[in-house]
Structures are given as C-alpha cells and as structure tokens.
C-alpha cells in the first residue's frame, strides 16, 4: 500500500525470533506457569509441615473431585456451584437492571441527579452485608433474602459507573452532533449511550465481584446450599480440605463469570479490542 503519503497501513506483524533460553525464561506465559506452580509448592510445603492448619493442594483437589460425585445436603459440587451462581445471576440481573438505567438517567438529567443523589450518597458507603438482618427480617431465611443482599451489592457500582460513564464523555463529541443539528434524543442515542458503554461494563465487572462477596456472606449466615455453605460445613467438621475446596471452587466459578463479562464486552465494544488488559 503506497498510494499516498497519508494512507494508513495496518499490519499485525509477529516477528519470528529464535527461541533462546533467555526468551523462554522471560516469556509471559512461562512466567504465568512459574508463578502458579510456585504458589502451589509453597502452599504444599506449608500444609505438609502442619503449619496454619491448611490442607495440601493434592488433598484439596482430591476433596473437590470427591464432591463432584458425593452429595452433601442433597447436592454435589456442581449443584452447590449452581446454587450460588443462580443467586448471583438473579440478584445481579435485578441490581444491574435497576442500577444502570438509574445511573444513566442521573448522568443525563441534572434534576434526577439532584433528587436521587443525596439519598444514594447516604446508602453508598454502607456495606451490602449490613443489610443481612433487615433482609432476613423482610424475606425470611429463604432464597429471596440472599438475592436481596446481592441486589443491593450490585446496584451501587452499577449506578456509580453508569453515572460517571456519562459524565466523563468528551464535550467535543457533543459538539460534533450539535453543529450537525442533532436533537437531544439523537445526542443521547448517537453519543451518550455508546460512549458510556465501556464504563457500564466496568460497573458490571465490579458488581460481579461484589455479588460474590455478598452471596458468600449470605450463605455463611443461613443456608443449606451453595459454595459458601460448603466452607461453613468444612469449618464445622474441621475439614480444612473441604474449606479450601469450597474456596477454590468459588475462585473458578467467579473467574468464569468475569471471563463471560469480558467476552460480552469484546462483542459489544469492538473498538476497545487490542488494548491489552484494559
């Protein structure tokens, strides 16, 4: 492509370099593996020495495999993982469905913002887990009270990110559409919403991790299912491998959720692709 001085050439080039020892040692993926195995080895030796009351990684893994077939309170490991996931999906969906539109409205309309903000600011710093007693009082000890905690927990970051997503939009982008004679509706649909989309996804990611904290707390307090309950169960039976197995399962499932959200973001915000680890 040598058509003109100002023409752009986009080419993704992978330079082929010979594999030297130095390159292998400094390879990103190699270092990931090193990091992971170092962690496992340190864990193993601490556990094997009988320190800190830990189970070894092997024992934990074995326990997890055992839980996949053995039922605990009527559910195997997948059943419990699903019980927690289900609460998160429902609670998060409600929290985001309420929080994202509210945050967008607050960003777009100063009157709505002035009305909502004082009350919202009052509740914002309150940890969602503080709602547990009220939640049980209102909804009993069944599913709704756990979901309520998650709704509260995921609502707040959704509102905050949607709001700031609108507020940080470059005013020049609005100038572009204003000189073209765009009306307010066009400004919102052509500029505000697409511009705020990445911020919405940031809110979703944060909400998701808050939701996991909330579901755990709720399950620790009152539950007969879920990964949090497995941890409590292990604690009561003094089985460290059960506790660690529950923790490892949470890590895996929460990671899958976050991967799913990132995947969705890549599909919906294609212009953000190629910016690594954003």
């Amino acid at each position: 492509m040598e058509r003109s001085v100002a023409n752009e050439v986009v080419k993704h080039v992978k330079e082929k370099k010979p594999w030297t020892v130095g390159r292998v040692l400094t390879n990103e993926y190699f270092l990931y593996v090193v990091s992971f195995f170092t962690f496992l080895i340190v864990w193993h030796y601490i556990a094997a020495a009988g320190l800190l009351g830990l189970a070894t990684p092997e024992a934990t893994l074995k326990e997890m495999v055992r839980l996949m077939s053995v039922r605990l309170a009527g559910k195997n490991l997948f059943g419990h993982a699903w019980a927690s996931s289900r609460r998160i999906i429902i609670g998060f969906a409600i929290g985001a469905a309420a929080g994202l539109p509210l945050g967008l409205l607050m960003g777009l309309n100063k009157y709505i913002n002035s009305i909502v903000k004082p009350v919202f600011d009052l509740f914002k710093p309150m940890p969602p887990i503080a709602w547990i007693s009220i939640s049980i009082l209102w909804f009993g000890i069944g599913e709704p009270s756990k979901i309520f905690i998650i709704v509260i927990g995921s609502f707040v970051p959704c509102v905050l990110n949607a709001y700031s997503g609108i507020r940080i939009i470059d005013p020049e982008l609005y100038d572009v559409i204003r000189v073209l004679g765009g009306n307010r509706r066009q400004e919102i649909f052509y500029v505000s919403f697409p511009a705020a989309l990445p911020a919405l996804f940031a809110g979703v990611q944060i909400s998701m991790s808050v939701a996991w904290t909330c579901v755990l707390a709720a399950e620790l307090v009152s539950s007969r299912s879920g990964l949090g309950w497995i941890i409590i169960r292990g604690m009561k039976l003094t089985k460290p491998e059960l506790v660690l197995g529950g923790m490892a399962a949470i890590a895996v499932v929460a990671w899958l959720f976050s991967v799913a959200a990132s995947g969705l973001e890549k599909v919906l915000c294609p212009w953000k692709r190629g910016i690594k680890e954003l």
Partner: protein, 251 residues
C-alpha cells in the same frame, strides 16, 4: 463586502456582535459569502477566531446580529452546517466508514442515498482501504481526514474549518490542503477556513478576511485570484502573502 457581483450570495453575516459580560469579543462584523466560495479567515492569536466560528455555527448564541443562509436565519436543524474542529474528533466506537456516515445519519439522509454518497466520498478521500478500522487504529492526521470527509458528506450549505491542519507536519499539511481544494472543487461547497497560517490561507482561499485584535472586526479583505494549482514560490503568491502578513502583524 466584496463578493464578486456575478456570483449568488449564499451567506450573509450582519452586524454580528458577541459579548461575554462586558468583554466585547466580536464587534459588529458584517460580510457576505458567495455560493461555492472559499474564504479564509486569518487574524492574530487570541483575536477571537474560535468564538467567531462558534457563533457562526450557533454553538454559542450571538449577542446581536444575524447570520442568514439563502436569506433565512441560520439554524443547524434546518441548514446543513458542517464543522471541522481544531482537535480531530471522531466517534471512537464507530469505524471510519460509520464516522463518515455519521453526519448523514443525523441529518436523516435516505438510506440508499446515504450508501451511495458514502462510497463516493470514501473513494474520493481515499479512505476506502481503512473504512473498517476504528479511530484508535489510525493516526491523528487520518482522523482529521475522516472529519473532513464527514463534513463534506452532508452536502453542507456552509462548511466551517477551525485550523484543521494546525497540528500536522508540513508535508502532510500540503498534501491535505491539496486534497481539500480537490474536494471543494469537486463537491462545490461553501467553505470558511480559519487559520493562523498565512501561507496556508493564501494557498487555499479565493478571498481572505483579516481580523483585527479584540474587539474583533474585519480589518481588511484580500482577493487571491491566482490560478490553481498554486505555487508557493510564485512571485505573485509571495506578494499576496507579504501583504496579508503586513495587515496582520502585531509586533
């Protein structure tokens, strides 16, 4: 002021005045622009060039005076105004193609006309090869070309440019100025081109309006009746450039 009487008047600016509180920025500016004319506006730094443009496009309201397009009060809703900003402005979530189409979408062009004109403009500006790239994948100069293409695409009644090439290196600037002239000659738009670069103004414009220091008025106008393509070392070119420089100098 001096529009060639044989040409139809497109834009009339009458007694345009802008005050910010008691700071008078634009002082009773009046001029006409012919249909399809290319005007440059030059003036000393801080003379209110950007305020002037923003008032013309109604981004900020004028204190007094009026701007008429084809005899009617200018309004971004009814007239096709287009603006190329000093800073390259592309919508980052739209590809080059969709950015060029953006103005036409906002203006509500019918779909088939939009598609047809989009391809035409993309080819004309040489953006077809990178039509599917996002703005963060192309350089700042390319983004500015996209903005220029977007502006021409809406068939503007009036195209305003605010130092669009101010931040580019010389070689690229020459190239894009030629491209701009080519687009203007092909698409027959009425252009007001603001710049602080006198050589650039003489190179592109048919007529140059020289602004004074604040409170801004039109100090002089210079007709540039040189044939195109113009040469920067043509003695006539240099003479006009010197003339404008004399008018503008504040040192």
């Amino acid at each position: 002021m001096g529009v060639n009487p044989e040409r139809r008047i497109k834009i009339q600016v009458k007694n345009l005045t802008k005050r910010f509180g008691d700071l008078l920025v634009l002082n009773n500016i009046s001029f006409d622009v012919a249909d399809g004319e290319f005007i440059s506006i030059v003036g000393p730094t801080g003379c209110g060039k950007t305020t002037f443009l923003n008032t013309l496009t109604k981004l900020i309201p004028a204190t007094e005076g009026s701007i008429l397009i084809d005899g009617k009060e200018a309004d971004p809703r009814t007239h096709n105004l287009a603006f190329v900003f000093q800073e390259p402005t592309c919508l980052p979530w739209r590809t080059v193609r969709d950015n060029v189409a953006f103005g036409m979408e906002v203006k509500g062009f019918p779909k088939d006309k939009l598609e047809e004109r989009l391809e035409y403009i993309l080819n004309l500006v040489g953006l077809s090869d990178c039509a599917n790239l996002y703005p963060n994948q192309i350089s700042a100069s390319m983004i500015q070309r996209v903005a220029v293409a977007r502006a021409f695409a809406v068939e503007p009644d009036l195209l305003l440019m605010d130092e669009p090439y101010g931040q580019l290196d010389v070689k690229l600037r020459y190239y894009l100025e030629d491209e701009l002239i080519r687009l203007w000659e092909t698409l027959k738009a009425t252009v007001i081109f603001v710049t602080h670069n006198i050589e650039e103004a003489v190179y592109v414009a048919e007529r140059i309006l020289v602004l004074s220091n604040k409170p801004t008025t039109i100090k002089a106008e210079v007709h540039v009746d040189l044939p195109r393509p113009r040469s920067l070392v043509d003695p006539k070119f240099i003479q006009i450039r010197k003339e404008v420089t004399e008018l503008i100098r504040w040192w």
